[in-house]
Amino acid sequence: MKLGARRGETLSGYLTISPWLLGFLAFIIGPILASLLLSFMKWDIITPPAFMGMGNYKKLIEDPLLYQSLKVTFIYTIIAVPLNLGFGLLVAILMNQGVKGINIFRTIFYMPAILSGVAVAILWQKIFNPHFGVLNPILKGLRILPVLELIRSPVTWLYSEFWALPAFIVMNLWAVGGAMIIYLAALQGIPTHLYESADIDGASVWTKFRHITLPMLSPVILFNLIMGIIGSFQVFTTSYVMTGGGPNNATLFYVLNLYRQAFQYHRMGYGCALAWVLFIIIIGFSLIILKTSSGWVYYAGARRGR
């Protein structure tokens, strides 16, 4: 009886997870292996695939488009992710200062983070337009535009090789609420007695921030950092819609290049090789961050520096 019940539970267990098991085989592990195999082949879908050894990877090393797309993606990641994390933290801390009407403010800040896709990309394409967009008149009014013109003139945003990538970074800042909402929840979870005892010891605002807030938030900062990096390596829709990778490949993000190689030029094998390089880069980044995180991430209840 007992054995029968156990066996019944095993059967039910596998039945319940069977959709995922099927999906895992058909859409994850199967394709991953196929992708690796295809990356050693030449295939245009129409003629049969031909094995070509390291051919795709050799071509990849000499492909200027790969280096351009890596450069664009890296610059974007290195600037946009920390900016987003920093501003998100700043806004969350400001909101947590007993500000009245926090619910309304939180809603407004979070709203852009849930908007995505073609409509948002088109909205920003028009905002950045130097002829009828709203951004340049505002910057002019605030006396910021002349400063930007000193750096590189004209400031035509998506039409300028120099200003196109900064435009994507500005647009990304609009969605700062995504990181903020997670920080805010974590801030509200910090026990107030920590601050109270610090107050008794006469700790300054900075000391409290440095030695209570930051350590207590560090797991969430780690989460936002890794999610931000993965997200910025996968930018596609905005670059496809806003610039098509231009001007002169100045916004050729990695995935846009991959999409073009595979689905416009029908280089399936080469596309798979590009996908594997992306995979290795993302895994590498995540591992480096996780490895170094034990030095700066504090888990309540765990000893530091494991």
Binding site: E9, T10, S12, G13, Y14, L15, T16, I17, P19, W20, L21, G23, F24, A26, F27, I28, P31, I32, A34, S35, V91, L94, G98, V99, K100, F105, T107, F109, Y110, I114, L115, V118, A119, V120, I122, L123, W124, K126, H131, F132, V134, G178, I182, A185, A186, G189, V220, F223, F233, F236, V241, A262, F263, M268, G271, A275, L278, F279, I282, I283
Partner: protein, 279 residues
């Protein structure tokens, strides 16, 4: 001493409020500009008039007609709701198995499931396309719907599992004594008690499918099968210099997402927080 501390706290709160108000203003400018531009005449949009002299509601009719809105809307609704149904059912069932039932290799399998969240979709994209092409499913809605019924999203499964873990197991035991099967427990106890979590998954799924661009771009070719995202992109490549029409069309497509967000924002926040803070 105490009073000075209180006043300094007050000044601090005031300063924070002022900065946040400025931030709110900046966040809202794009949406405000989108709305006003969508109601301008072409000349007003070109000359960057602050506000339209008379709101041009006709822009909306012109834009929606030019982009074949209604057909694309029908396609998008069909795909979005079928995929949403698939996500909610399959992810809930899988999460139930992982959170409530004991079977060999359960925990290693769950670790694998978590690990799949780190795999960028681009790695599997090309072979999945080839699979669907072999099935003759290119230029049909199946590639955008069927995966949702097969576990669909590791993120949703994780979110639901976290929620199911908070339901006391005593309820399962009581039901089992009454002769309830494992699937009976799932439908009679877990599902009714998890409505908020299931709704969260449904809403995230809706947002994802409504806005998805790359999936339809890869799989759908025929004009009559295009989704809103594709139709809007086509419209933009033809009418890029007509900001008033583009803003009208974009606003209409954003509207359901904005409405859902305002009415159900606590579910989004809960979903984000469960995965970000407790995960």
């Amino acid at each position: 001493m105490r009073r000075s501390k209180k006043t300094s706290k007050k000044i601090w709160t005031m300063a924070a409020t002022v900065i946040i108000l400025a931030g709110v203003f900046v966040i809202l400018i794009p949406l405000f500009w989108m709305l006003t531009t969508s109601l301008k005449t072409y000349a007003e949009a070109e000359n960057m008039a602050w506000l339209p002299r008379a709101p041009q509601w006709a822009n909306y009719f012109t834009a929606l007609k030019a982009m074949n809105f209604w057909r694309a809307l029908g396609n998008t609704i069909l795909i979005t709701f079928l995929a949403m149904t698939g996500h909610v059912f399959s992810c809930a069932l899988v999460a139930y198995g992982f959170s409530r039932l004991r079977f060999p290799f359960r925990d290693p399998l769950f670790v694998i499931l978590l690990a799949t969240m780190m795999i960028p979709g681009q790695v599997t994209m090309i072979p999945i396309f080839i699979e669907f092409k072999a099935l003759g499913w290119v230029d049909t809605f199946y590639p955008l719907i069927v995966p949702a019924f097969l576990g669909g999203s590791a993120f949703f499964i994780f979110l639901l599992r976290q929620f199911f873990m908070t339901i006391p197991t005593e309820l399962d035991d009581a039901a089992r004594i009454d002769g309830c099967s494992h699937f009976g427990i799932f439908f009679k106890i877990i599902v009714p008690l998890s409505k908020p979590a299931l709704l969260t998954v449904a809403l995230f799924s809706f947002m994802y499918n409504w806005n998805d661009f790359m999936g339809p771009l890869i799989y759908l070719n025929s004009p009559e099968k295009k989704t809103l995202a594709l139709a809007l992109q086509d419209f933009n490549s033809l009418y890029a210099v007509q900001p008033h029409l583009m803003m009208a069309a974009s606003l209409v497509i954003m509207l359901p997402c904005l409405a859902i967000f305002f009415f159900a924002q606590r579910y989004f926040i809960k979903g984000m927080v469960i995965t970000g803070v407790k995960g």
